[in-house]
Subunit: 247 residues, 2 copies
């Protein structure tokens, strides 16, 4: 099923949408869709529209337009629990790949973390590109809610009160489910956390946990920690939790 991500477009009164630019060109030239063909439209905020192509057309400077008719709309809930990954940005292309993988495994959001040893902070332009990557990934894996790209978060702000805060550290204990509907996950830079940061995390009531037998590159750690948290919280209610009564 071909999927199109809707940017700044809401359904018209008559349920017909006009899709322009790259999405229209791709549907026609690469996917070779034609009138009557079915496709799925995602708004990235829970709406999944089943639609079909009405027509392709050209406007002004030869840009393609695709008109589609919405036949059915389904509203899906976001993945629960919401895992909000606050992760130091890896350098170079690893960041793009991490955003795609975090989206595939089901993170609710990613925000760049500034910590004592973090080395890279994406600017506005880069963050915009990452939003596009998250949207592209939504189409590939059929996410009804696109992963949100947040803004630069300091370590102190990342420890602000929250239902559950988890700090990934390869030297720590095994993760215990929190049974919380919203989980903030902190993953540090290649250089790891400073002693002071780990102390502050414990003071703030965070669970410091490891997510595998070895040290991992930060982008692998972020993706794997998100996947393990979602798997345990969603699918293994019998697993021993971090709640006092379960210890």
């Amino acid at each position: 099923m071909h999927r199109v991500f809707l940017r700044d477009a809401g359904p018209d009164a008559d349920r017909v949408l006009t899709i322009v630019g790259e999405e229209a060109r791709h549907a026609l030239r690469v996917k070779r869709l034609g009138p009557g063909d079915a496709l799925e439209l995602l708004d990235g905020e829970g709406a999944v529209h089943s639609a079909c192509v009405e027509a392709f057309d050209k406007q002004g400077r030869g840009e393609w337009i695709m008109r589609v008719r919405i036949e059915r709309t389904e509203r899906r809930p976001p993945i629960s629990p919401g895992v909000h990954a606050v992760v130091a940005a890896p350098k170079g292309p690893h960041l793009d790949e991490m955003i795609s993988q975090l989206s595939q495994v089901g993170a609710a959001s990613w925000s760049p973390l500034r910590s004592e040893r973090s080395v890279s902070e994406p600017g506005e332009k880069r963050l915009d590109r990452l939003r596009r990557i998250a949207e592209e990934s939504s189409k590939q894996c059929g996410r009804a809610w696109a992963m949100r790209i947040g803004t630069l978060t300091t370590f102190d702000d990342a420890l602000a009160p929250a239902p559950a805060i988890v700090v990934a550290d390869p030297e720590a204990e095994v993760y215990r489910p929190t049974r919380s509907p919203e989980i903030r996950l902190l993953v540090g830079p290649e250089g790891g956390w400073s002693k002071r940061e780990l102390e502050r995390a414990l003071e703030a009531g965070a669970q410091v946990a490891r997510f595998g037998p070895h040290a991992m590159r930060l982008e692998t750690a972020a993706v794997v920690a998100t996947a393990v948290i979602l798997e345990l919280e969603r699918n293994h209610p019998e697993a021993r939790s971090a709640l006092p009564g379960d210890l």
Copy 2:
């Protein structure tokens, strides 16, 4: 701690080793090690040698040699359970990245899978390069046992009798621990499994399981499935297992 991977080198009678080529140059020029500095030597088969630099020297065509003295040798067991990932090769650079990530999360081995819809089969030269990537990753994450790179495996061979066989499929049920010391994990190509392949997997007694709320790219699925299996099998003995008595 600087780590060196030993290729085709065993400890001498007098516990002094000679390391040549890129590893020697890297230790001197990039890591700026000198006589007396400590380092760790990995043989990729469980031996971790604590050693120190004795001297650097140049041979013939200006190639660097590093002489090191082994001070202590520790033998570590492999990660248990052994997860043997038999995974269709993704195209292009994604394969290199998948090998590195599988090594980081702790897979015992990876072998390329030939299935009905697989599209890429690495040749001998590529497999050799993947071995190097697995060795490099061992140094980064401190793996005592390097991830083994296996040979092309057909779908039928991948279903040959084994203590536990797991087939990843995004439409299937949640993974249940097998309590087996060796687990063969099959991950299919982007096009997924054919109906016939899924039937054959079930006939062979495989557990068909999903590892996240969305469909994932095959390399993400392989890495995440390995990580989730290791986490549940190693650290959550209380999780409901696939054994008949536990269902």
